[in-house]
């Protein structure tokens, strides 16, 4: 920071995560803070646009977890990121090549990992959640479909996947729209009896899963509880008093 910058009431900074008490030069924000903002924006942009490394994700899942049915790589009908951003509905349906990969015995749960709006969130936080969740589910004798890794996916991509795999429940772990304060926040959506007619009112959601938000281990414990409730009730969503997000808030759908 140069000597020209001046900061009024620096003590305010400790009271909120908001960018208060910024050093100023004239009416403008000082160089250091302008660049700090640009850096946060750059991280957020990169998180949106970097492709999810499916092969690496698959390798880490297999290395660090016992997955009885293995994994499967899938893609939505959105061919690229630009189309994905302009046409959200394409990210909610399964490409026919991917659909052909899915069949099998009915199961209790399909876990879907989709890039959503932050591949970085998935790369960083999906595995830590599953490391706590999957062993607990196996201990409770839940039967699991292959873990589905989806490129250019939205939340509702879990519906056609769950339907084809005859899963009694789906859990979609997906990258949330990055903010400046965190570009790696993961969302988790549970849908009982997933099928293509489902909508967001049929889901329960945990959001803000990241290192400085809801911790992955704590998220796994809450998800385990929500999954057990969903299995007993046979349904999820508004009727169960779950957290249903409105249109403006559901940023990874």
């Amino acid at each position: 920071m140069t000597d020209l910058a001046r900061t009024r009431l620096p003590g305010l900074r400790a009271l909120t995560p908001a960018r208060v008490a910024l050093p100023t030069v004239g009416n403008s924000i000082a160089t250091r803070e302008v660049l700090a903002f640009q850096a946060a924006h750059a991280l957020a942009r990169d998180a949106v646009h970097a492709p999810l490394d499916m092969a690496e994700m698959e390798r880490r899942l297999k290395e660090q977890l016992t997955l009885p049915a293995g994994t499967v790589q899938l893609r939505s009908n959105a061919p690229d990121r630009a189309t994905y951003l302009r046409a959200p509905h394409l990210g909610r349906t399964l490409h026919e090549d991917s659909a052909a990969k899915l069949s099998g015995e009915a199961c209790d749960l399909v876990i879907v990992i989709a890039d959503g709006l932050s591949s970085k969130a998935v790369e960083r936080n999906a595995l830590p959640v599953l490391q706590h969740l999957v062993p607990a589910l196996l201990e409770l004798r839940w039967t699991l479909a292959p873990v589905a890794l989806v490129q250019q996916g939205r939340v509702a991509i879990g519906d056609p996947i769950g339907q084809r795999l005859r899963a009694r429940c789906s859990l979609v772990l997906i990258g949330e729209r990055p903010g400046l304060s965190c570009a790696t926040s993961l969302g988790a959506y549970i849908t009982a009896h997933p099928r293509v007619e489902c909508n967001d009112a049929n889901r329960v959601c945990l959001s803000n899963i990241h290192e400085t938000g809801l911790q992955p281990q704590e998220a796994a414990m809450q998800l385990l509880e929500l999954l057990q409730v969903a299995r007993v009730a046979g349904r999820t969503g508004a009727a169960l008093g779950g957290q249903v997000h409105g249109l403006m808030a559901l940023e990874s759908d």
Partner: protein
């Protein structure tokens, strides 16, 4: 009516007024997403040429969304003032654009004309206007509203201080309020988007704003942007509510997706007015809108997003609001893809709002999945200042840590006021020049007041 135009010996035909309006719309992702956009650049211009030749009256004769099925259409038809419309009744849309740009048309003329215009007419003419036209005409219109401050006077630019916090922590919110007030922000309203939508929370936040406002004698007004029913419940519990907020849209079905109807808005308006917190003539409503809301609710009836947006202004104007702003880049890139589309949409919304007599402000903003950045916001902010925008947002460092999007900072407002010679609302300007702001800057009594004072912490 035959809607067609020939360019380069290709004959372009349009099925209906709404088809013509959609295809005449300057390109934006939402039009493509809805499948309503022109299929080529030439078709777009053909639509604009056909629209230019269309009599303005056509929008009185043919409704885009049927009268029988949509209460917003009924509102537009039933409140149309034929006498006010008379001076332009014989014009085409193209001639109307020309008239608006003549030197003879001034703010007084436009103010008198406003009740005679429907939102469809405003949207139609805006589609024939370039960015400089949208600025030049909007600049003629002065829409002034009052609560404790007077907002919208020529040569003034106000700000909504937006001190949001991810968990509604009262101390955290107060810290952002103090920061903003010291930087001259907050003369339009101090308005908090709550993280939790409950009457109790809304009441706590309103009491916080009220306590700071009273203690430091700040001429401004409070608002907590919860759902209108939540605010009414807080009001019944005795919360000190100044402005009643609601997000609104341009069709009955889209408003239903927001959980509101015209009757509910009227009930909220009447309840707020009856509090009489700033005199019987005070404007008490605050509305937010944004292109794409009807489409995202699957409630657009095949009407393009910009025309739907203008129809939301018809909803707003019957309530004589204190503040109305488009949240232009918030809803996402599937509606407005990049900085260029956001820029134009912000100016269209400001123009249409002003033409329809609204005290139009703008949340100059974008999300991280849009192709936009601070440079785009600086540009939109500057041109809105030139266009005479009533107010913009003031967010600490332009980074809203609750809603996770980027808007304008306190410093941005100081910049635009400085380069364009704009000033805050007169009552607030006087307060800034007095003793109170320096007392606000004394940390210890302030923090003591916030930590344990009458704010319900």
């Amino acid at each position: 009516m035959l809607l067609r135009h020939t360019i380069d010996s290709v004959d372009y035909r349009f099925d209906s007024l709404k088809d013509l309006l959609a295809k005449a719309s300057p390109a934006r992702s939402g039009g493509e997403l809805a499948g309503l956009a022109a299929r080529s650049a030439a078709e777009r211009v053909a639509a604009q040429m056909a629209l230019a030749d269309l009599p303005l009256r056509a929008f009185l004769d043919e409704q885009l969304i049927p009268y029988e099925t949509d209460e917003v259409t009924r509102l537009i038809c039933d409140t149309h003032d034929a006498a006010a419309f008379a001076p332009v009744a014989a014009l085409t849309v193209g001639e109307f654009r020309d008239l608006l740009l003549t030197d003879d048309v001034d703010g007084e003329f436009l103010c008198a004309l406003s009740p005679g215009l429907t939102p469809e007419m405003a949207a139609a003419v805006s589609k024939l206007m370039r960015v400089q036209d949208l600025i030049a005409v909007a600049r003629k219109v002065e829409v002034v509203t009052r609560f404790r401050t007077t907002v919208g006077l020529r040569g003034r630019l106000s700000t909504r201080l937006q001190p949001n916090h991810p968990t509604d922590d009262l101390t955290g919110i107060a810290a952002s309020m103090v920061d903003g007030l010291l930087l001259g922000s907050g003369d339009a309203v101090i308005g908090i988007n709550p993280a939790g939508d409950s009457a109790q929370r809304t009441g706590e936040l309103l009491r916080l704003i009220d306590a700071v406002r009273e203690r430091y004698a700040i001429p401004t007004q409070s608002c907590v942007l919860a759902h209108v029913t939540t605010q009414m419940a807080a009001l019944q519990q005795g919360a000190p509510l100044d402005l009643m907020f609601q997000s609104i849209a341009g069709t009955e079905k889209a408003n239903a997706s927001f959980g509101v109807s015209l009757a509910l808005l009227k009930e909220a308006h009447d309840a707020t007015r009856s509090l009489n917190r700033a005199g019987p003539d005070a404007n008490v409503m605050y509305f937010e809108t944004g292109q794409g809301s009807a489409l995202s609710a699957n409630a657009h009836h095949g009407v393009d997003q910009q025309t739907c947006e203008a129809r939301a202004y018809a909803v707003a104007r019957v309530f004589k609001p204190m503040l109305v702003n488009t949240v232009v880049g918030f809803i996402g890139p599937e509606y407005l893809y990049d900085g260029k589309q956001i820029l134009r949409a912000g100016l269209e919304d400001h123009f249409c709002g002003k033409l329809l007599g609204l005290p139009m402000g703008c949340d100059v903003c974008y999300t991280n999945h849009a192709e936009a950045d601070q440079d785009d916001m600086d540009t939109l902010l500057t041109v809105l200042g030139v266009a005479g925008c009533n107010y913009i947002m003031g967010v600490p460092g332009a980074d809203d840590v609750m809603l996770q999007y980027q808007s304008t900072s306190f410093h941005d407002a100081l910049y635009v006021r400085s380069v364009l010679g704009l000033r805050p609302a007169p009552e607030f300007e006087a307060w800034l020049q007095g003793e109170m702001p320096s007392q606000l800057a004394l940390p210890s009594p302030l923090l003591a007041a916030l930590g344990s004072g009458g704010a319900g912490a």
